[in-house]
Symmetry: C2
Subunit: 373 residues, 2 copies
């Protein structure tokens, strides 16, 4: 492990070691002669000895060292992180090769790993088949501007005129088309992988590369079939993370996002609200004077509208269903009213829109009619 | 589910339905009046009724239909796949939007999904933390020619001179650098994700986009520490797939790769062989006359050499260790003989090299000396 603190006393040497497997340090009890100039904060050590139950209230066990060897020294003065000091994320990100040695970054990586595992577990338990949809794709789902294009590096100084794949190729923005094909044979499929957007935005809500969950279900009949899956897909992995990473989460509750524990508990213990887009507009209209953008039927919900709806629902996640057809893609299934479609967004506290979904229009004549326009 | 066969008798209508969740069809027993012109091979149907234990030896259960509705019709004449006919992979690949409806393709997708899940399970059970190493990277690990470059599509007709990320960006060929950083804080990390090579080769052994497992362990002392992990990582997921997908695997043993069952069983029941590169060259030299390329110490192993070594070992996977330092990357740890490094390849039957690995040189002065050259 790596040394997190050293306390040398007359008769005894105390070390805190951490190997990144959890937040807690292991208390190592050694003899003063084990100390050396190489044994410093940040150094890597190998220790032999035995584990004992600890009388100390803050720890279950302690390790009594018979032998200690410094296997990687560390110049504590030049090392950017200091013992028992909290560093800001802005500071840590200057040292991408070392920041995983900080408590907050290591905790984040452990939680992310558990979260990924929990999402896979949810889908596998529900009988979904994972499909590795391609990252390189010739299909430009959502219009051209936000795509990354992929080409082999040109070997000579001139530009290659021919594409590597014969056609222009892009980084995927969605595996939906591939999943729809697979769902028409395997019934339940999902992908959880990297997705790309070439948006020139440095905001908190945009990344060039991010991980996204997409799933397709065959034989659905109503929006509720899909919303039920999404509600479980939010709750079950969250519960698993709470159960498996309590110390790491506590670190974030304490130092990074105070109050977030209550937000998460409310999400887990509440049934998510369902309301139609039309109902949502009615609620928003009553609060019109407080918005920069006036809520109006047929216009998309603005961030301020989403925030108000979640507050209105008591900070419980809310599915807004049955959007006007102009606001949703052509493949969303027409409702009988001829104005709305069976498509919804899930709005959650602090984030806003977290998921979107729809029934897919399966009636061939309606689809053809729409494509002809 | 989707109709796989229809047998209409005077008093009774038999259907085989499949929903892609497994290879076996569900036998549905209905009444003749449920038949219609829409009820054809390939159509999607909704059936209501009850499940009964079946007296028929080929199936555990059968479904007695009270109501049957065709929810998606299929023109069986135009549908490219025919009932009870085996189609070649070459034929199926002309219909990427429908081939998942064939037994072999659906079985392959189910096995792949289980394999991915088993690999994650292995690493999570062993205390590894999954790290989503970036797909877009400015680092060109292995030289420039085989990289894909990534840029935003230029918005105007002229070429953008500025890069989207300020520096040239590529699709990752390896997450090793990021993992090494993480292992120096979290001890055990892995990635299982898409990887890219822009090789203009259409052979069986080259793909532009493929999934790769990489792992880094801190505090290793010998090659055996790493080889032990790899051996378990091959065996445990394989056992899980054998346990969870027996019918799907049987399909491949029977129709696609006869004899493969014995190959797999041998791999699972044998301890993998370990031999040094020097020993391997001695074995190969005794068989020199049968090779196109003469085996010689200091030269890389050719495909024909790998095949011979695996045969020599009784078709058991073999780790070839301690390669000459010129054949392995600069970061492989020097052995004391000053000629070889602690780096190895795993050779397996039919495939050849499946894994490579090394101890990383941790002695700063040796690394600096090597970089200075």
């Amino acid at each position: 492990g790596w040394v997190r603190s050293i306390r040398a006393q007359k008769e005894v040497l105390f070390l805190h070691l951490n190997d990144g497997s959890c937040l807690a340090h292991l208390q190592v009890v050694g003899t003063p002669d084990m100390g050396s100039s190489d044994l410093s904060y940040g150094s890597a050590v190998a220790v032999e000895g035995r584990l004992f139950p600890s009388a100390h209230p803050g720890q279950d066990v302690e390790f009594h060292a018979d032998r200690l060897e410094v296997i990687g020294s560390c110049n504590a003065k030049e090392f950017p992180f200091k013992a028992k000091k909290r560093h800001t994320m802005e500071y840590s990100r200057q040292f991408p090769h070392l920041r995983a040695r900080t408590n907050s970054f290591a905790a984040l990586l452990r939680i992310r790993s558990q979260a990924a595992s929990a999402i896979h577990k949810f889908f596998q338990d529900e009988g979904y088949i994972e499909v590795h949809t391609p990252v390189i794709s010739s299909n430009d789902c959502e219009g051209a501007g936000e795509l990354f294009q992929v080409e082999q590096i040109s070997q000579d100084s001139g530009k290659d005129t021919k594409h590597f794949f014969d056609v222009p190729a892009f980084l995927t923005v969605s595996g939906q088309l591939q999943l729809e094909v697979m769902a028409s044979a395997l019934s339940r499929v999902y992908v959880f992988g990297p997705t790309f957007r070439a948006e020139r935005s440095l905001g908190r809500r945009h990344l060039s590369e991010f991980y996204m969950v997409e799933a397709e279900l065959a034989f659905t009949q109503q929006q509720e079939d899909v919303m039920e899956v999404i509600e479980m897909m939010v709750k079950q992995p969250t519960e698993q993370i709470l159960a498996l990473c309590p110390e790491d989460l506590h670190l974030f509750y304490k130092f990074v996002s105070p109050g977030h524990r209550e937000v998460v508990e409310k999400i887990l213990t509440s049934r998510f609200i369902r309301m139609t887009y039309t109902e949502a507009i009615q609620i928003l209209t009553k609060n019109s004077e407080n918005f920069q953008f006036k809520p109006e039927w047929g216009h998309d919900l603005q961030k301020e509208h989403e925030r108000h709806l979640v507050r209105h629902c008591g900070s419980v996640p809310v599915f807004v269903t049955d959007f006007p057809k102009e606001l949703k893609p052509f493949y969303a299934r027409d409702n009988d009213d001829d104005k709305t479609v069976a498509a919804f967004d899930l709005l959650v506290p602090e984030v806003g829109e977290l998921f979107g979904g729809s029934l897919r229009e399966e009636r061939l004549e309606i689809l053809q009619d729409r494509l002809d326009r």
